[in-house]
Amino acid sequence: VTVGIARRVVSVRLHHKWWGLIFVLPVVTFFAAFNLFPTLFGLWLSFTDYDLLSPPVWVGLDNFANLLADRLFVQAFTNTLVFVLGATVPVWVLSLLAALVFDQTFRGRDILKAAFFLPVLPPVVVVAVVWRLLLHPNGVLTSLTGGWWGITEIRWLADATLAPLSMIAVQNWAIIPFFMMIWLAGLAAIPPEFREAAAIDGAGPVRTFWHIDLPQLRSTGVLVAALSSINAFQTFALQYVLPTDPGGPANSTLVLGLLVLKYGFQYFRMGDAAAISVVMFALIMAVTLVQLWFNRRA
């Protein structure tokens, strides 16, 4: 009888195992076909010279070595780092400040919060198109800022110095509300007793924030840092749509994501495009790992 029961248990387990496999198979197949295979294929392509018209030719690490001497890559890499810096540090600070404001109770808070959140809703392309109009050399923003000094033309997007700054400003405008919501969720998760205890001990708002809120928001901070960094490293649509010429003027807004498109589908150098993608992947992975390590250590 015992043997019979044991057999049945094994059979049921196997049965469950097979059913489980059958249920996950579509997702696994989908993932393998549309995620795993393209990733591995992209990795393989990065070691080849491939122009789409002729079969790929294995070139080993040549594509990666060439990148180091490639002016376009160096410029795109530098631009990306500048953009990441501009689209992360201010985002962390400003979104946290906004969250602290909206964490308070005041009249009309919900309406204001909803209005503040609006820039997150439209797709990046729509944001870019709207800002393109606002940043016209003789447009609204020129009137608002240059009017004081009698300036009637500011080349927000046609000047190689101003264009990258404009990109950063638009990115901050579009994503700060999103990260504000994450900070707000983090703030809401702090037990109110902590703040009450601090208040009883006579701590003011600044000390409460510094000694109670901030340490409690550590994991939220890492999440905000990781998400905003990944988002900034992957930037593409803004630099593609906002300037008159994608990545322009004079490549001042050319970022790695845009360079992948240029190499792959404008220059038809798929091997180089794949190599840049691999570098991007490594960069994002490295930054994320550092942030996670920092979180664990803290």
Partner: protein, 449 residues
């Protein structure tokens, strides 16, 4: 007479059941025979997959031509696909990469070199095309083949040969007390002063309405315009035979200095303003030089009172060419089966013989006798002017890696517009273009077996 009766007539005695069986068998055999015959006929039918870029007025004409062709050639079936113009090059390349490229396709003269380098283009099969030889084919046309000739052979037939020229908005000229017929600047040297008369500026000198501006937002402008200016000086920006750039040579310096002065010194326009075509069609720009003959319907639709004008020449020009020409060609995939290639060339002949219709209904100009003799051509007051300019114009150089070469030039142009010195920009641009061309050519030679 029924088949079973024949058997009976021969004296065999058969039962009713045998007769029925025999009848069924004979009918079955007839049916099988019929199916086999139609099967063979279907197997003999050749299918030509044809890809064209999207040009809405041309699509109904394409469909009608194909229907007529299929009717005239029942052994050939055409699978016609229209691809959006923006995605066309990428889709074409990815299709070839996947081994599913079309048998017949069109593309512009600026992009054909990479297909030639990859040995995708089949040389013209004159027999299938229905011409005795190259001379017989060329005799039908009045030009347009220079963009598709490689190493002495032709690889396609033009379906559109186009050149940009200048247009004036008569109303704006009249407002400024000028007449384009008499006041149009004939030289590049006269153009800034002419444009200034038509420009209105604010208190800071910022143009509120430009007189004339280049099409800064169209990448091809910085291929056609400097090449045109350099051709006029009897030189070449890029020697396509030897893959050598001369961007730092005196004629190129003069052309790029001119473009820089336009934006920086004279402040007559630049990339920061609304695209010149858009402003011209909105009645906000007095003159523009990036429309072809195909632009006239757009001007008419926008209610612009226009005049067609020649592109300026240098005062000391040694060549009287206007803006460079480009063409769209129909080309056949060398990787398709020989029978399919023959059918495709046959279709090319049938299609290009409808040139007058393509001009009349879709505005696509091909310099052929039947076009210049058509009613549509005679009714179009600008057409003879275009033909005359087209005959004098030259093709811009065709190189492997054209997109990257042009991109390098565009980056150099950006730096010039930012005010960087020509002495700093052009040598670097020249070195980069040479490096790109050498690498791309060497790569093409390696990849193509």
């Amino acid at each position: 007479m029924r088949p079973t009766s024949t058997i009976m007539a021969l004296g065999y005695k058969t039962t009713k059941r045998e007769q029925t069986t025999m009848r069924i068998l004979i009918r079955l055999a007839t049916l099988i025979g019929l199916f086999t015959w139609t099967g063979i006929a279907a197997a003999e039918q050749v299918t030509v997959r044809m890809w064209m870029h999207e040009h809405p007025p041309r699509i109904p004409i394409d469909k009608a031509i194909i229907a007529d062709f299929e009717q005239a050639n029942p052994d050939i079936k055409v699978r016609y696909d229209v691809i959006s113009a923006q995605e066309y090059s990428t889709k074409l390349l990815t299709a070839f990469a996947a081994g599913s490229g079309p048998d017949l396709f069109n593309n512009t003269s600026t992009l054909v070199t990479q297909y030639f380098a990859a040995r995708i283009l089949a040389a013209i099969d004159y027999d299938a095309l229905g011409y005795a030889n190259e001379a017989a084919l060329l005799a039908k046309f009045q030009g347009g083949f220079d963009g598709i000739r490689f190493q002495g052979k032709l690889y396609g037939v033009p379906t559109e040969v186009s050149n940009w020229t200048c247009f004036a908005n008569n109303s704006i000229w009249r407002e400024a007390g000028l007449d384009p017929k008499t006041d149009w600047p004939k030289t590049w040297e006269d153009l800034p002063a002419g444009a200034e008369k038509l420009t209105t500026r604010d208190q800071n000198g910022v143009p509120i309405r430009r007189g004339f501006d280049f099409a800064w937002t169209i990448p091809g402008t910085f291929w056609f315009t400097p090449n045109t200016m350099i051709h006029q000086l009897g030189a070449r920006m890029i020697d396509e035979d030897n893959y050598k750039a001369a961007l730092d040579a005196a004629p190129s310096r003069r052309a790029f200095q001119y473009l820089q002065d336009w934006a920086v010194k004279y402040r007559l326009g630049g990339p920061q303003y609304t695209a010149s075509r858009t402003d011209f069609l909105a009645g906000k720009l007095a003159a523009e030089c990036s429309f072809g003959i195909w632009g006239i319907p757009q001007m008419q639709a926008a209610g612009i009172d226009w005049s067609v004008m020649p592109a300026p020449r240098w005062a000391d020009a040694v060549s009287d060419n206007g803006l460079d020409i480009y063409a769209y060609y129909m080309m056949v995939n060398a990787r398709s089966a020989p029978a399919v290639q023959k059918a495709a060339w046959k279709l090319v002949r049938f299609y290009t013989d409808h040139a007058a219709e393509l001009f009349g209904s879709a505005g696509l100009f091909v310099p052929r006798t039947e076009v210049t003799e058509s009613a549509a051509y005679k009714e179009n007051s600008a057409a003879p002017f275009f033909l005359a300019e087209l005959k004098k114009a030259k093709f811009s150089p065709r190189v492997v890696g054209y997109t990257r070469v042009l991109d390098t030039i565009l980056r150099g142009k950006d730096k010039l517009v930012q005010g960087e010195k020509i002495d700093d920009v052009l040598p670097v641009m020249n070195e980069e273009v040479n490096a790109v061309m050498n690498r791309e050519r060497a790569r093409a030679a390696t990849l193509v077996k």
